[in-house]
Symmetry: C2
Subunit: 243 residues, 2 copies
């Protein structure tokens, strides 16, 4: 794959118009590709060896567990996302990262990141933008669990995934392929799998969307956006701010 076509470049290109030297540095970040099977943690909480990855294909989830054994999924990562960027800058990983599907990802070393920032400081700003966007999504998940009802938070979440996938060429306003089980959705949204099932049925019967056979279909995109009060601004997708 040409570096211009990688999901990471498509994503960062939404913030900064990338120059050839910047593209070359990003290309090198794809230089250590590895495969990981579904269901086996790539990074676990408390791990001292710091590793970060750029996800090239497949889906992963990042989660934390609490003392009683409960688990909270913080977010899912899709192609073009960094995995474990916090782990790279912290002494120990503060969360777990588990592939939801088989994934292809390239390891990014901290030395490589700092070297890239030295040679192309605008890339540092672009990576900070991507990290800020990741934080903005976690903020929305906090607002959802704290203040949105089950229908609103489910719709908001599936719209957010759609917007992220569209940015990297893997979705449209019609829908997207989605490998998530109702159990995974439940752990992310603070609902039970039974409750998720009921909410998805309600959304389908209302003619807004369906999620069946690994595919999310938006039947009434505007109606779903209105239900969820979904405002794309926090994903900042309006084209390069830095020319």
């Amino acid at each position: 794959m040409q570096v211009q076509d990688t999901p990471l470049v498509r994503k960062l290109g939404a913030f900064v118009a990338l120059s050839d030297p910047e593209l070359e540095i990003l290309g090198r970040m794809h230089g250590r590709p590895r495969s990981f099977p579904a269901g086996v943690d790539m990074v676990h909480e408390g791990q001292v060896k710091r590793s970060a990855y750029v996800l090239a294909s497949g889906w992963v989830c990042s989660y934390k567990t609490v003392a009683g054994g409960g688990r909270q999924i913080v977010d899912f990562q899709v192609p073009g996302d960094f995995l474990g960027l916090r782990s790279l800058l912290f002494r120990t990983a503060d969360h777990n990262i588990e592939p939801v599907t088989r994934v292809e990802a390239s390891e990014v070393l901290i030395s490589e990141l700092i070297d890239g920032f030295t040679r192309a400081p605008r890339l540092a700003t672009a990576v900070l933008w991507a990290a800020s966007r990741d934080e903005a999504m976690v903020v929305e998940h906090l607002v959802s669990i704290g203040r949105r009802n089950a229908q609103e938070r489910t719709a908001h979440f599936l719209l957010e995934l759609g917007a992220r996938l569209t940015l990297v060429g893997l979705g449209t306003q019609e829908g997207y392929a989605c490998p998530l089980s109702q159990y995974l959705l439940a752990d992310a949204l603070g609902l039970s799998a039974v409750h998720i099932n009921r909410v998805l049925r309600e959304l389908r019967e209302a003619g807004l969307m369906s999620f069946q056979k690994g595919r999310v279909e938006f039947h009434d995109f505007a109606g779903l956006v209105a239900l969820a009060d979904f405002d794309l601004a926090y994903l900042d997708h309006d084209g390069p701010l830095l020319k």
Copy 2:
């Protein structure tokens, strides 16, 4: 105040051993000091003029509102924290920032940030570290609301604030001055003010901590840490990783 004594430098110094040129750039980030009164938004959601600040003194909260009028406080910021870093890199602010007390803050321009990164790339990594740490705190708030009971989440939150304030010289394991009302705590923790009041009484009666007259006092720090299952690792305070 000497730049070495500013909360921002104390905080970033926990990640990178700062050189004189780096200190000079951080000093310049304090070059546009302004005062803001309590209770008036400094930044509001949807605002197009992008402004970020470094907080020199006082406390602020960042929050989002939802369609029904509810509000979720995402975090509080204390001296040394950036305010609105996401706003700076996004086209529109995605949250509101309101001073809890009178605050002193210096505006940071995006041009200044990029210029600083160009001249001192390690600063870019340090700012990315600070942003990652901000995200790690939001993640903990999500886990708290999703998976921790009222006592655990209140204790976790007040321990986190203590650790952050200790890093910048404004707290110890004995306690810290805290201007937050029970209403603000309630909006952050997804509890009612009445519930917060009861939880604080329970924690006091258990001999763990008290929060009275604007001061949090830890009476049994280790016991409180055990109750909350509080693991400091996500704040990454172990001294400079980059020498």
